[in-house]
Amino acid sequence: MDFAFSEEQTLLRNSVQKFVQNNYPFDTRRQIVKSEAGWKRENWKQFAELGLLGAPFTEEQGGLGGGPIETMIIMEEFGRGLVVEPYLGTVVLAGGFLRHGGSKAQQEQLIPEIIEGKRVFAFAFAEPQGRYNLADLQVTAKKAGSGYTLNGHKAVVVGAPWADTLIVTARTSGGQRDAKGVSVFVVDKKAKGVATRDYPTVDGLRASEVTFENVSVGADAMVGQVDDGLKLVEQVTDEGIAALSAEAIGAMKVLNDTTVEYCKTRKQFGVPIGKFQVLQHRMVDMFMNYEQSVSITYMVTLKLGESETERKKAASAAKVQIGKAGRFIGQNAVQLHGGMGMTDELNVGHYFKRLTMIDTMFGNVDHHLKRYASFD
């Protein structure tokens, strides 16, 4: 057993850290978020140059040949900087679909485009009625000739305003919530019948409502097997959960450090408020929440390759711990900063907001507690 990082992994972390330091000081991030586009294509180019967009792909595919640990390192550092560019949607999720379920043709065309930064993806899975059930689908894909016709509405598709291409879950057979009958498609955002309405989300990202009206795709647009997509979707979202956990611990670390520093310098009643035992214990609890979250992030990262049940349990366990800790740390970082913690000016609220959205993504604490318990 060994929790040490290899030399290459440390170099990778250093290079992401350097990127965040140089390109993501808080004021710069604020400008990026407020800009018309809401992200910076220049940053995406740098990700390509640094090799980050190729991290999980094999060397034959043109990637770095990394695995879950490399993704964890990148996402953790992105979490520290509150990076908004759609690494999760493009590299982790779309990349995951292509790696695990993509045909040879899809892999050969799309993976190099991801690695070179030429194609950006968003994952359209949620629906207005579906809550966190990945199989609760009203978006349909009906067989039409050799291909399919898509109809329906996807909700809060994070990163869709920036995406060229969508990964879409749709029902090809069965009832609305059947596990069987879910299929996954690659759909060009410019395809006829695809309409988007874009808006900002509270954490500084952008999302869209996406509707499909008789959108025709070829049979070659399907990722994985027809009707059998749910397994693939769960595998990829579990990997997404591991990546989000890493992002979350990056954000938690900043919140904890900032809070401790603030409590050492902010004076009330003639002493730094960090001298008050009630606040000391609160910060100790924040620290323990963080340490437990780091542990569970390592756990899920190392278990992504295990049996399906083990992987699912690990992902749900992580999502529970991260959700609870993110809430505790976020709320208390604000509380201990007092009025200042409430402001848009300070970075504290922004980390809290991101952690809140991470809690919702792919299912909240309650959802994953139930999912975890269902395997016993």
């Binding site: 809060v156 808006y199 509270v202 009330q268 509380q335 922004h350």
Partner: protein, 397 residues
């Protein structure tokens, strides 16, 4: 001990209900405070209550109060919450008003009280400073007497809705050599006086409610001093007591629970209402039980008050539990609406060309509401400070 309302009280309830139905201004119905775009929006309900003579139920009758029993006040606040009326802004009616009728001279009472009641003058609160939050008595804003004037210099912060205010009531330091609490005075300042500058603070939900107020050589007539010089801390403490007594927000939270349940009945989870989910309904039930206990704690406090006992340090319980419940309510509402709580709901001051907010109307702004409500355990004496008060004043620790 009994819980029954008398027939007269039931009649009163009907009267209140009818008044609200007929007088709740149409232009602000169904809008939350964040959707108000003008001073008039904020004041519309205030003015309707004023016209009826119901704007200040807790004031003594001689100054314009209603003369209601505490049960009537309770019924009134319940009916207002049930109808989702806006909250009457506390700064005039609930804060500076009671200080004025309790400690000010006749001339000051005549000058200010009628305009507080009518809403003609909008007040804001100049207490907190950048260096003085929980430790309010350390405030540094300085008022130096020069003839018939005080020259005031300093900075106030977290000043709610100062952008609309006509007057500010300020705690200022008049004797820098006295012990902290003993050198403070309570001063009323016209916001139009040269040297008063208001600068917005945007909170993390995107709202502009709070401000910084800069005071730069502001000339304030000595006749604007309330009570005696250097005794302002006594009045401030009196006011903080008042602020706490109303802060439990039980009626509003009860209404909030009703709304949450409606949302959870509409939201679907696996084809069934979310409220049927044992986990979620358990969270709601836990919240309701806590709220029920708080309601009776508040009723006990009210009963004590009507027998002439002040709210006392026990009122800190109302603040701590009341705000905890408000926060959990917004938290559960955000959980109920899942992904649709996260889109940003713009404010007028964002000047966004695209004001599209997707999802059901009840979900819009749920995350922002959750973020904003974090302030409730910070303002008006943080939950930590309230616990200190109980520890010291109630438990004698």
């Amino acid at each position: 001990m009994n819980l029954d309302f008398t027939p007269a009280e039931e009649t009163f309830r009907d009267e209140v209900r009818q008044f609200i139905a007929e007088n709740y201004p149409a232009e602000i119905r169904g809008k939350s405070r964040g959707e108000f775009t003008s001073k008039d929006d904020f004041l519309a309900w205030h003015k309707a209550l004023y016209k009826k003579g119901w704007i200040a139920p807790s004031w003594p009758k001689e100054y314009g109060g209603t003369g209601w029993t505490s049960t009537q006040k309770y019924i009134f606040s319940e009916e207002c919450a049930r109808a989702d009326t806006p909250l009457v802004l506390p700064f005039g009616v609930a804060m500076v008003g009671p200080v004025i009728y309790t400690f000010a001279n006749e001339e000051q009472k005549k000058e200010h009280l009628p305009k507080i009641l009518s809403g003609e003058v909008w007040w804001c609160q100049g207490y907190s400073e950048p260096g003085s939050g929980s430790d309010l008595a350390s405030l540094k804003t300085r008022a130096v007497r020069e003839g018939d004037y005080y020259i005031v210099n300093g900075q106030k912060t977290w000043t709610t809705l100062a952008q609309y205010a006509d007057w500010i009531f300020c705690l200022v330091r008049t004797d820098p050599n006295a012990k902290q609490q003993q050198g403070i005075s309570f001063l009323l300042i016209d916001m139009k006086t040269p040297g008063v500058t208001v600068k917005p603070i945007i909170t993390m939900d995107g709202a502009h409610e709070v401000n910084e107020v800069f005071l730069d050589n502001v000339k304030v007539p000595v006749k604007n001093l309330i009570g005696k010089e250097n005794e302002g801390w006594t009045y401030a403490k009196f006011l903080l007591g008042h602020e706490r007594a109303g802060i439990a927000g039980v009626a509003r939270s009860k209404r909030g629970v009703e709304k949450l349940k409606k949302i959870a009945e509409t939201e679907q989870d696996g084809g069934k209402p979310l409220l049927d989910d044992p986990e979620f309904s358990r969270h709601v039930a836990e919240l309701e039980v806590d709220l029920l206990a708080l309601e009776f704690t508040e009723l006990r406090t009210l009963a004590g008050e009507s027998k002439g006992r002040g709210p006392g340090p026990e009122a800190s319980i109302l603040k701590i539990k009341g705000t905890d419940i408000q926060q959990r309510l917004t938290e559960l509402t955000l959980e109920a609406v899942a992904y649709y709580g996260n889109p940003y709901k713009p404010f007028a001051h964002d000047h966004m060309t695209n004001e599209y907010v997707p999802g059901p109307e009840y979900a819009a702004g749920a995350a922002q509401n959750y973020f904003l409500t974090r302030r409730t355990t910070i303002y008006g004496g943080s939950s930590e400070i309230q616990r200190n008060i109980i520890a010291k004043m109630v438990l004698g620790l």
